[in-house]
Symmetry: C2
């Protein structure tokens, strides 16, 4: 299976690369490294990425930049800019990628527990997650030719201990659970679902 | 109670105005009419509105512009612009209004069933709703001085029969249920909740 892995150099992405590289044809995408360099906050970068890749079977996104910082720093401008990555960037991966994906292919986006379990510093990420999740359900009834779409929703992940203190009471999602969540979306048959790992 | 009603000339807003005008001091806000003219897609308009109003006890928003149209017309630009109203406009009402609202005041935003019950033509509204709902939960843990925040979530509303065909299988939310949903948020004690009316 030809899988486009966006966010491949991140903590989640690099784990998936190691787990899947012997099973599938992976095309790694990152802002600064990877087979293709693309920043998902740029519509042009996404367009160029798809032109260069051509057809593919699955897109997996672990690219979720959003604004993290104290509530008092959330001006309208900061909030809006913070939605360009995890929310709009991932939506654009689907809107633009639907013309390139093979029939019966799949899109799997990243969201997270902050949709329902808010924490200080992460209001922007909560809004992005909630938007992505509702978009996934809406896109599932629109995509043609058997193309599926889901999102994987971990809480703070095992390999990011620097974030543990921001998520009191959240049992970290193991890398194994995360990988298997993506497996369920990419290799299973679900569509329009949020695969909740917390 | 001094209540700022944003979207007052719309189908939902005008119903609330009639229902509450003898009980409370209402300040009506609309894009083209009302005590104050303000377009919530404009950060400047929102700032001017609050400067002109000064302090208040409750903000009720029934202003939810988003993009409605066939999936194939959803370009990245259309999608992004479509989020400036229901999603970012309503978030900005809170980010900017928190400096003006009285202690123990409340914000009540509008969302809708499309968060969980997608329909053709409304993917943009689904994303906006999902973002608003997650934002409400996140803002509830950040707002100070007893200020509360909730969202009211109807499905297609009784007084908008022109939309019924877009919502097959949805029993329209009555105007009475809608009004009482807003009552629960504004005059009750909940915070961080989505008051689901479908």
């Amino acid at each position: 299976m030809k899988i486009l892995l966006v966010g491949a150099s991140g903590t989640m992405g690099s784990h998936l690369v190691n787990a899947w590289k012997n099973e599938h044809e992976l095309i790694t995408v990152g802002t600064k490294s990877g087979d293709i360099k693309a920043d998902i906050t740029s519509v042009d970068d996404i367009k160029k990425m798809y032109e260069s890749v051509g057809s593919f079977d699955a897109l997996v996104s672990t690219a979720g930049p959003s604004y993290v910082g104290p509530w008092k720093t959330l001006t309208p401008e900061v909030f809006k800019n913070g939605l360009n990555g995890k929310l709009l960037g991932q939506i654009n991966l689907v809107l633009l990628g639907q013309d390139y994906i093979n029939p019966n292919g799949s899109f799997t986006l990243i969201t997270g527990g902050l949709t329902y379990e808010p924490q200080h510093f992460f209001a922007n990420a909560s809004a992005a997650n909630g938007g992505v999740e509702a978009f996934v359900r809406a896109a599932a009834i629109e995509l043609k030719k058997g193309v599926r779409i889901n999102a994987v929703s971990p809480t703070v992940i095992e390999n990011s201990p620097q974030y543990f203190d921001y998520f009191p009471g959240e049992i970290p999602t193991t890398m194994r659970a995360l990988e298997f969540g993506f497996r369920k979306s990419v290799f299973g048959a679900k569509t329009g679902e949020i695969i909740k790992l917390y």
